[in-house]
Symmetry: C2
Subunit: 337 residues, 2 copies
DNA sequence: CTGTTAGCGCGTTCAT
DNA sequence: ATGAACGCGCTAACAG
């Protein structure tokens, strides 16, 4: 556990120079004699010297680190978004610290503490389905640390957000179902605590309205995204006196699980019931039947969010923007509908 | 960009105490008068005070951070392993810094620098398919920073490793294919640079040998895991004068892609050609036909690796162990074979 | 129980 | 072109 770190002092001694000179040589200051710099650089290389970012950050008050807090890693959504964010961040010289909150509010709060303690320069956040109180996130604002939401956003905070047009995506999905002859379309929705659920519900309702399909409360089920419960809800829907002939699911895992349940009941997809998902997860094209779904530019969402965050970091607090970027979705029609 | 951080001094002044007392109160030292501690804690809470881990780490030379370097995020494998690792790490009070190297050697080297500069207490590594030189990883050892490999390990470094019994998994998969009547079994293998490829190839060959099935060079194709190339190789195999009646793929994405190619040629899986994968990715049970595959305890791998790493961190360098944990695989038989 | 002093490794003045 | 001195926020001796 006792390790010796190579420091500037070590190489200063070795070369009979002052620490400041070595420091300057290392940081690429011009006012250093070329041969001195050369010698320093060589020795540093030879000794595997690495600048201690902790010390530097302590002085500069900048860690060149951005934090990313996401609710889960189960679907391909967040890993993909993170890749996008990292692309932009690392190009701009930022390291990323990733925390996943496991869809639990308490964990999310703990994660924010970690971020704060590690002095991140900014955070990218997608909240859990449990998050109703935002005090832990507002701390960032108060401390002058920019925050950008993506996907699961917090409405009561005026900060940049990156979302997709959930309303429009849902609208188009349901519209398509109706136009292909479906009469009773159920919606397995997400929890009301998430804005995305609400918007998708609104899109769903709007599409029904447009075609004068009466909205039937019985066919709208909002649930907590705990995938195990899908079975209960789908079974319930199938047992209705007047069961649906289509299900629009709030996301792909829900849709996929719904298909399994439907098939176990001996019904066919899409002949008996059409199923449409949301997000176009990596798996969706591979399952049987391939899933019709609303595709989101996930990687682009990550990239955009990271870019907005870095822009904020480079701005004075007074100049912070509250842009909301709304990216487009696209309906991908496959065999499940 | 100019933010004011709340420091111990701020709260010391406010309370007319010395910094050390405040510090002690904050760190839960016993030798502090209860009411003093109470006052400190309350004010800290009120001011959103967060201990500056940078400063603490600088002194204690411990960041309570472990780095994780993985090659990719495309399949569910690494995200799942990371969740396992985080479970253990966070329980032990460690934050994780995750870097993905995008299967590129250069990126991996850059990532190690990031880890070093940020003074991680230890690293978990799974190398890229390009990594042939390990100097960048040996630096950790030289600096006394423990390293633990998982999945994609480095043979020439004597450090803890967590792997599965690749040889055995491959052996059982191929054995099963032969016993279910397949005569010509091809193997779409990974690059030779990865130990896991080699071991799976050996398992493949051993199973053939056991059943006196002659090994045919033509049926063994090692490729770089660039999924786009699967089409070429599978097409090639199908065009052979004596084409295979089964394909054992080095991983699930390869197997899944192979199935798509086979079907596009108008052949049936498993009737014409059986396909078996490796890893049991999340998708594998959902695709059509559900994939027979060798399942790995991925999350457990992550947990084990993290635990080994933390053990190393808590040991003196001289006491470092070089345990190699070999976890068991399991053949999951589904419809593709 | 509390205060004082000395650094951790480094960038940054201000000198020379 | 280089050195000396100071301080980032904090913990860890050492004193009472």
């Amino acid at each position: 556990m006792k390790r010796h770190q190579v420091t500037i002092i070590d190489i200063a001694k070795e070369l009979n120079l002052s620490k400041s000179t070595v420091s300057r040589a290392l940081t690429g200051h011009k006012s250093v004699k070329p041969e001195t710099r050369q010698a320093v650089l060589e020795l540093a290389e030879k000794l595997d010297y690495q600048r201690n970012m902790l010390a530097i950050s302590l002085i500069t008050k900048k860690t060149n680190t951005i934090g990313i807090i996401v609710p889960e890693f189960k679907s391909s959504y967040f890993p993909t978004a993170i890749i996008g964010a990292q692309e932009v961040a690392s190009k701009a010289g930022y390291t990323t610290v990733i925390c996943q909150s496991d869809e639990r509010y308490e964990t999310e709060v703990a994660n924010t503490r970690v971020m704060l303690a590690n002095q991140v320069d900014g955070v990218l956040v997608s909240i859990t389905k449990e998050t109703l109180n935002y005090d832990h996130l507002k701390i960032f604002q108060r401390k002058g640390i920019p925050i950008v939401f993506f996907n699961r956003v917090c409405d009561e905070m005026e900060v940049p957000k990156v979302i997709v047009d959930d309303y429009d995506g849902a609208y188009r999905a349901v519209n398509y179902l109706i136009e292909s002859g479906r009469k009773r379309i159920a919606h397995l929705a997400g929890p009301f605590s998430l804005k995305i659920s609400e918007k998708r519900i609104n899109g769903y309702k709007a599409a029904l309205r447009k075609h004068n399909v009466p909205y039937d409360e019985e066919l709208l089920i909002s649930y907590d995204l705990n995938i195990e419960k899908v079975k209960i809800y789908v079974t319930h829907l199938l047992n209705l006196d007047n069961p649906p002939d289509a299900i629009f699911a709030v996301n792909d895992p829900t849709a996929i699980e719904a298909i399994q349940v439907i098939r176990k009941r001996g019904l066919r997809v899409p002949e008996d019931i059409a199923v449409v998902g949301f997000s176009n997860d990596f798996v969706s094209g591979l399952i049987d039947p391939p899933l019709t779904t609303v595709s989101q530019p996930v990687r682009e969402i990550g990239r955009t969010a990271a870019q907005l965050l870095i822009d904020q970091i480079n701005r004075e607090v007074a100049d912070w923007k509250t842009i909301i970027k709304v990216l487009k979705t696209e309906l991908v029609i496959r065999k499940s509908s």
